[in-house]
Symmetry: C2
Subunit: 503 residues, 2 copies
């Protein structure tokens, strides 16, 4: 059967026709449901990418695999939109030399989201084809075989899922709510917006590592199952561990610091971070991806701050250069101002931020932490004054930071610690860590921490420890804020929060 | 005090001298214990890397920061070996214009592993300096300040920790057992061998990702906390999740497959994998790092097998090119034949392996799984016959593989599945996965699996699923076997096994 989707892939199943027996169908070998691809053979066929179908390929016969995005029958013709990731093309099945009326009907009846192999001729379009990424060409179908059939009822419609919310409110057309999206993530991730978000997120990870490797950092792998809660006992998940129990790491910090004490000098890691916080907000997840950095420095922790800030700047620049298509795709659904940043990065001291907020009418103490609304307001004030969406806030009050934070040498109420912000939201928290076991013990006692529980931590610094600093970046937040999205669940493929553990 | 380690870093503490008051000491400003570096200032001082101290720098005055690796006083002189990661240099403190006898004594008394800043003149050595990486130069010390003091008693000696085991047995000199190493990992990771192992491991991760990004793969992040045990209920860690409970993912496979069904086409991820197996062997960990790949293919799963094998080959080549120093450093302690591989990679069918083993006198059935000793033996037979340490074993019996494995289209007792081996040990297991919900249901029933529990998994394939295959690589095993090491705990920074949860 030379015309089966793939010769030798087994007998094709062709749907029964109620109008005519297949004997009357001159195109009967040119369409059908291909049998399941079980690696029966290795055909010598090249499948062309949809994004490569341009006028340069006009009049060529090509094979394409894609999904049926939409189909519309109209008399003796059927117009399909064939989708492949972020790209799509119009395909036409029309009664004629290659296609019978049965074939047109077959094509029109293929369920949306089914995967098909199509042989067709690339034709220059008479006019721009709206709604398709390949606007200048269409595909005239000569053969069509279903590779994988989708069920007829989809849990959500892809067109609804990419519709800007404002438009939906205005004209009453449907959008898809977040729980429906997340419950049916396999479908929701197929939208051009989702494809773009997660390709860009993959890019953030690559740029992060590329930059750090170039700077001489070493990637480390830190354990996630730990014997003692890393930052006190609160907000930690417990794991059964054989006959005993253990915890999930809330941060790789202790291990990063051990690597510094073990002379790796500059380390980074990318991995899951677990927080058993019952926070149901737009920016909290119980499991997120941490991009973590730790670095020994010579004399001043600003050596580290500068490296971290530059790493983020390299990420922002890399995204601009390599991911314009993705940024624009996301912008279509979620319009947003381009992300702005300065070189070198703006660094403000905490006291300056407090002064700016007070000038804007906020009442707050010198040693009071920033509330989330105040962080947002500060972001707007900084943007107005300095025209940047990214900045560093340095020298936090010692009182609002963890016990291992190095006090400021000049003003003992301050500390050598910093946060970094994108569009007014925190994406990184970091500090110079105390590397002296005696001071570390004193500070732990001051915080009322049980020294027995952090003995191993303090002991790590007893055999010569270089001064060091570091910080942890939340990947999903960086993606969200760079793209100007409003919920971290949009930038986590399979988000985990207090109420969601599936899929 | 212009001669303090760093001006303004606070008052230096200088140990009391019993021989002479500091008033008599003409070098008293040239040594001491520097106060803790708290980022007091940003001195304009360049610290030179020890590996860059070569004859080209002869007669230059340089500042260096390093650890006291060894010290040996000899009359009016003290010889230090100063270490920085894998590199070290001899430093000489001798009574003379710059150093007083008190200063020599001070230097000689600094505890090993302390971190010091040294100002010195680089001098060409009269003869090669054995035991140092910088054999052609030594450093004539003019100033020496302790930056971080180590406690006097080290839990293990670095020289013992890098001694080849055979030598230890022969001459009675000490080596360090594995538990002592792991209990004091911060010290053990400072050895040249550990530094080299983990720099090379970082390289494996970079090469893995570089290669896949070049091949058009997208990096994904998959959740580690899951609501249902991914591969049946056995060997899974349970996590308390707010008022409910959850599990730790034994594999990212389901999520990789969902990404394939969501049109990402080629995905990879690097992350922790958790196995609650009570296996106390040289190659099992309860938490390890998985390098995972999943890929949609057109017609035959060998398209995927070829990509995975080529990725490993690119890693092997990249290590040879970029990590020669590290490979040689490890070889000094653990001598080993260089790792051999073919291009393209050797692919044997399971039946061929069974035939080779039978020829070597092993009795086994056609559908019997390979035991670990038989895998090892097969590795030796393959090495003899084909001269490669890396090969693919294809077409495993269906009976020994998981329910989601695609059966072979020709011989239903076989399957479209494969393992990959390095030096006779399995490093990857993979297969074409069943992408058809009906067949998947049948196979699950055949295996006696509760369909209710895998409903979400099966449902992922109901809306059009491309044929796909993939596999998971164990990072620690690849590092171990490439370097010819004998225990996976040597290639996990902070290993987790049924008996070890710390540090």
């Amino acid at each position: 059967m030379p015309s089966a989707a793939v010769r030798g892939q087994g007998q094709d199943r062709r749907p029964e026709s109620d109008e005519s027996s297949s004997a009357d169908d001159y195109a009967k070998e040119r369409y059908g449901v291909s049998s399941m691809i079980q690696s029966q053979e290795k055909p010598d066929r090249v499948l062309i990418r949809i994004k490569d179908l341009t006028v340069e390929k006009a009049d060529e016969v090509v094979w394409v695999r894609g999904r049926i995005h939409t189909s519309r029958a109209k008399g003796k013709q059927c117009f399909l939109v064939l989708r492949q990731q972020q790209f799509n093309i119009q395909a036409l099945v029309a009664v004629g030399q290659h296609a019978s009326k049965q074939m047109v009907k077959f094509a029109a009846n293929i369920n949306k989201e089914s995967i098909v192999d199509i042989e067709g001729v690339v034709r220059k379009a008479h006019q721009k084809i709206g709604g398709c990424t390949q606007q200048d060409v269409e595909l005239h179908v000569q053969r069509i075989y279903v590779i994988s059939l989708a069920e007829p009822r989809l849990p959500l419609q892809l067109d609804d899922a990419v519709r800007p919310e404002v438009e939906g409110e205005e004209d009453g057309r449907a959008t898809v709510n977040q729980d429906t999206r997340l419950d049916n993530r396999v479908i929701d991730l197929r939208t051009s917006t989702s494809q773009a978000i997660f390709c860009l997120q993959s890019g953030i990870c690559q740029l992060f590592r590329e930059t750090l490797i170039r700077k001489g950092f070493v990637e480390i792998q830190t354990p996630k199952i730990i014997s003692a809660a890393s930052e006190g006992g609160a907000n930690v998940f417990t794991v059964s561990y054989f006959k005993s129990s253990a915890y999930l790491a809330q941060s790789p910090q202790l291990y990063k610091q051990m690597c510094i004490c073990a002379d790796f000098e500059k380390v980074f890691c990318v991995g899951p971070v677990f927080r058993a916080e019952d926070s149901n907000t737009h920016r909290h997840l119980t499991e997120f991806v941490g991009l973590d950095i730790e670095m020994a420095f010579n004399y001043h922790y600003h050596e580290v701050v500068d490296e971290i800030a530059d790493t983020l700047v390299q990420i922002f620049k890399g995204l601009q250069e390599r991911f314009q298509t993705e940024i624009q795709t996301v912008n279509k659904q979620f319009p947003c101002e381009p992300f702005k940043f300065l070189e070198p990065t703006l660094r403000l001291e905490y006291r300056e931020a407090v002064a700016m907020l007070r000038e804007a009418g906020i009442e707050m103490g010198d040693e009071e932490d920033l509330s989330t609304p105040n962080e947002k307001l500060l972001g707007r004030l900084v943007k107005e004054k300095y025209d940047t969406d990214f900045y560093i806030l340095d020298k936090y009050p010692l009182a609002v930071r963890p016990f291992y934070t190095m006090p400021d040498p000049v003003n003992p109420k301050n500390s050598n610690s910093y946060d970094m912000f994108m569009r007014g939201e925190e994406i990184l928290s970091g500090a110079q860590r105390i590397h002296d076991p005696q001071l570390l013990t004193e500070r732990a006692q001051h915080h009322g921490i049980d020294l027995e529980k952090i003995k191993a931590y303090i002991d790590s610094f007893r055999f010569g420890a270089p001064p060091h600093a570091g910080g942890g970046i939340g990947l999903e937040r960086v993606t969200m804020l760079y793209l100007g999205l409003h919920n971290v669940r949009q930038t986590s493929m399979f988000p985990r929060d207090p109420k969601r553990l599936t899929p």
